[in-house]
Symmetry: C2
Amino acid sequence: MSDAKKLRTHPQYELLYHPSIPGRGEFIRLCFEATGVPYTDVANEKPSGYDTVQSICMNTSLTSADSNPPVFAPPALRVPGAGADGKALVIAQTPSILMYLSERLGLAPDDEAATYHVYQLAFTALDLNNEVHDTHHPLAVAKYYEDQKDAALVKATDVRENRLPKFFSYFERTLRFNEENGGGEGKYLVGGRLTFADLVVWQVIDGLYFSFPKEMEARKKEYGKLLDGFYESVKQEGGLKEYLKSERRLPYSQGVFRYYPELDRQ
Amino acid sequence: MSDAKKLRTHPQYELLYHPSIPGRGEFIRLCFEATGVPYTDVANEKPSGYDTVQSICMNTSLTSADSNPPVFAPPALRVPGAGADGKALVIAQTPSILMYLSERLGLAPDDEAATYHVYQLAFTALDLNNEVHDTHHPLAVAKYYEDQKDAALVKATDVRENRLPKFFSYFERTLRFNEENGGGEGKYLVGGRLTFADLVVWQVIDGLYFSFPKEMEARKKEYGKLLDGFYESVKQEGGLKEYLKSERRLPYSQGVFRYYPELDRQ
């Protein structure tokens, strides 16, 4: 599809999220980038873009914007023309935005049962994302890491030793199930083509490689289909290959995925 | 609708969850109970029912049951006849199950924008549910509370002092937005009738009243529409009034919502 065609057939999607970090916004960016559908990353692309994000998503008034109800926190998605009375639609919550986009960007399966299986995978990976966040902030989001380091060591050890194997086993078995039943060839979690579940699971694995390189290297032997085969093949999907090398792919820093050597396997 | 009619028009929904606790299964029970749609709470109603739950949701094989992919953890929903080739459908993840049921039980709005606003509310309340769980288990799910009590005191204080006001403010403002725009009369978060967002938010508030009675009593003055008006009126909806007095409504004990006086406001 030409860029002109895409601009004609898609509304101008606006991602409202914090600037400079991949964070939870990255799950949404990957949907656009994999499918080549244009979007505006408001806080990163527009002068005073973050002011816009804050005024819509981090206010204390009765509306987010454009006659939509309040938003709890970024990320949110704004879609001009898609709301009530031709106004903009503003929706929040990562899984909700992913579902909305997946139907429009071709990242959901055609049949309903498979769609709910995509949902359960994506939501489980988002749960893992939250657990990884808590490895460096187990006691309070608003406190510094240095002020909860002892607790973080205990939490990170539990996540690495007990939680990661449980999640990885589940995703690995799902890949094998699909290989045997849906023809994913080890490249897709559900069915025979890319869905947003693949993107969400991939992003969490990628973040884990950044945060816990030693742990992941050791686990790669146990969960090779997931952490090697699937992980490498998703990088080649659609627009991702170009995106992952581009400046639009923000580096990990002080967001969900952080690298503290002391929290990794010793 | 008569009970006989309901039995004819709905499949036999099976809730697969741990026995004896409300837990995350309660969000799903409330959907059935509010609408009067029959369901089987497998672990609580059937001899050796928990064996069935474990064999489907807590195994390490390539399938959950009936040619469905694996399940990460309970709750799951099994719907005979709704899957591929007339087999049973098995789906997991609380938000996914709630969405599936809401379309069939009349707990979702008619228009799409409002539906996504229901999703974002329900998902935000489920996030709060997870944060409340972590007040007594901040370091490791598999460790005893007594072995992480110091950390729990810090976490619970942060949740009570910083997180609850943020969530409550959001829900309260959404109620007020809807009252001014959708006609919910303070009884509904989105539109003019009950949705599953109301049930999920209500259940988390109810659990908080159990876990943090002093904190909630103090907060009731600040967020009266939510913690008093809305909370009381939802109890009167459809089948809930009868359900909440019945033996099917399981008492809180050692699940997500626990009462440790030392974690409450002092």
